[in-house]
């Protein structure tokens, strides 16, 4: 523990060594070891083998499908999640508590159930699908369907990160804006939304991460047509079923790298805006 001595701040909170040690051990067991094993497994193919597996056209198509749909879903969730959080925080109406509780349902529902339900609704003969089918629009078995499933499972992340910040936002600041002559719209766009930016970014990152990794609900609605609506997690399972464990690990590693990079960038933006707006100080 001597090496940590220089990080040590004089503090009334005891147990720095113990808690840091526990944290590192726990972190290693739960996150680092499995990920290291995954990366090691993917290197079993060698440098050229790795890139051959990673740059396979079908793999690239599935990665593109996964990340594009996840980004779009997270983007849509940010807009409507913020709106829902706003309504739940700012207005009192009958049934508000029920709506509030329902926001968490996508957390609780088994993802396969959600997938099957969504497929039934959006299939060409389904409740919604039958109305858009004559327009030549197919939702189920296309990337649109994938996006809808991802929106469903990602919504609570956005609502639940923005809600507490909105609740905390002081009404005085909005009143100050009004006394300075700003219209309601100007107050929202220039005062309220910028102060929500860090929370919105967090919500976006969580919803995005969840959507990229989502498997259960998506595979039912996706149709899983290679090069069209096949997501990367599904391709990993297909590789596993072919006993191509190294191939599966390669796709997983690439997904991991891209996700980590994106989350890291979002984190940096967050840290920057937090510092700037003085949160946590």
């Amino acid at each position: 523990m001597k090496g940590f001595g220089r990080f040590r701040q004089p503090s009334v909170i005891p147990g720095f060594g113990l808690t840091l040690g526990f944290t590192i051990t726990y972190f290693s067991l739960i996150i680092l070891v499995p990920i290291t094993a995954l990366v090691l497994r993917s290197t079993g193919l060698g440098w050229n083998g790795f890139w051959a597996a990673a740059l396979d056209p079908r793999v690239l198509a599935s990665l593109r499908t996964s990340f594009l749909t996840a980004l779009i879903a997270a983007g849509i969730n940010v807009v409507f999640g913020t709106l829902i959080a706003w309504v739940l925080v700012r207005y009192r109406f009958p049934g508000r508590r029920i709506f509030d509780a329902m926001v968490d349902l996508p957390f609780a529902l088994p993802t396969a159930v959600a997938g099957i339900a969504l497929t039934a609704i959006y299939a060409p003969n389904g409740f919604v699908g039958q109305w858009v089918a004559p327009l030549g629009l197919r939702i189920a078995y296309t990337p649109i369907g994938i996006t809808i499933a991802m929106i469903f499972i990602g919504l609570p992340f956005v609502v639940r990160t923005i809600q507490p910040i909105l609740e905390e936002a002081s009404k005085e600041v909005e009143e100050a804006s009004a006394t300075l002559g700003a219209s309601r719209l100007q107050t929202i766009s220039r005062v309220l939304l910028p102060s929500l930016t860090p929370a919105i970014l967090t919500g976006f990152a969580l919803a995005f991460a969840r959507a990229v990794g989502e498997y259960g609900s998506v595979i039912f609605i996706a149709g899983n047509i290679p090069f069209v609506s096949e997501i990367a997690p599904l391709l990993i399972v297909i590789r596993l079923e072919e006993f191509n464990y190294a191939g599966a690990a390669v796709i997983a590693t690439v997904m991991l790298a891209i996700s980590f990079l994106m989350l890291f960038v979002i984190n940096l933006i967050q840290a920057w805006s937090r510092r700037r707006y003085g949160y946590g100080s």
Binding site: S170, E175, S183
Partner: protein, 343 residues
Amino acid sequence: MEVRVQNVRKEFDRFPALHDVSLDIVSGELIALLGPSGSGKTTLLRLIAGLERPTAGRIFFGDEDASEKSVQERNIGFVFQHYALFRHMTILENVSFGLKVRPRSTRPPAGEIRRRALELLDLVQLSGLERRYPNQLSGGQRQRVALARALAIEPRVLLLDEPFGALDAQVRRELRKWLREIHERTGHTTIFVTHDQEEALELADRLCVMSQGRIEQVGTPDSVYDSPTSPFVFGFIGESSELAVNVERGDIWLGDRPIGIAAGDNQGPARLFFRPHDIELVEGDAALAGVVASSRRVGGTRRVELELGGAGHRVEIDLPFDHPAGERSRIAFRPKRWQLFPA
């Protein structure tokens, strides 16, 4: 801009916060709304600002009826107790906000906005801090930014809601003096809310003392301090001692003894008020006399608590700090100035 509040009533969910309040505010004056919490002073300020709508009554800005106007249309400057600065904006952006959100037709050009904001920052003595963010400033500095921001829109009336309430005593005194200077320099009609009587007495041209949703007294600090019109005002403004007395045959009696001050024509039980420092020590019987129960040093004087007679009446009086009175010693005094209110 003169402001007239006419028979304004305000209820929150049937709970009355203001009962039929009328107040004329003279153009260019600095008036304090003073009262304990729950007296309705902040509600009155917010009604003038347009942040609340009155349940009944009207509010005039000059000759213009502002009752139905929105807060944006009223063109007022409002300073909040907790600053309410926009924390994602720099100080300069905060101050220019009110000009930047104007519709294009009345918005000054960007260079002009910047020049005016910098000029205001200079007025509030914060030049050089325009690129900081609010969380990098001290409380006193933040409140000065809030004031500059309110002044930027050239308000018709400046409203301040307990502007120094969140600051420590030292900063508060400084800002008080400084607000007075700013007021004299800019000449805005200024209304500020406070529960701190010292602040109100020092700063305001006139006081409006409020209690339980009503205005108790309006007047200059001198008139309110020297001739309070109600027991509440006497007790709330300045130090006071109170005695339950009886008026009989033109004399004031405490228990079975006359206390040597003449009363008017009223008969019956009454409440006698006087200031602890407005007394003279006397010899002899025809006075208020008692024994010292406790004494403590307050600044340059000694505040003595006297127990009068046997009925457990206690009053406070001020003695010179070097007065020899010790515990249990007997002191007789007479209020030099006092006021009687019917009990």
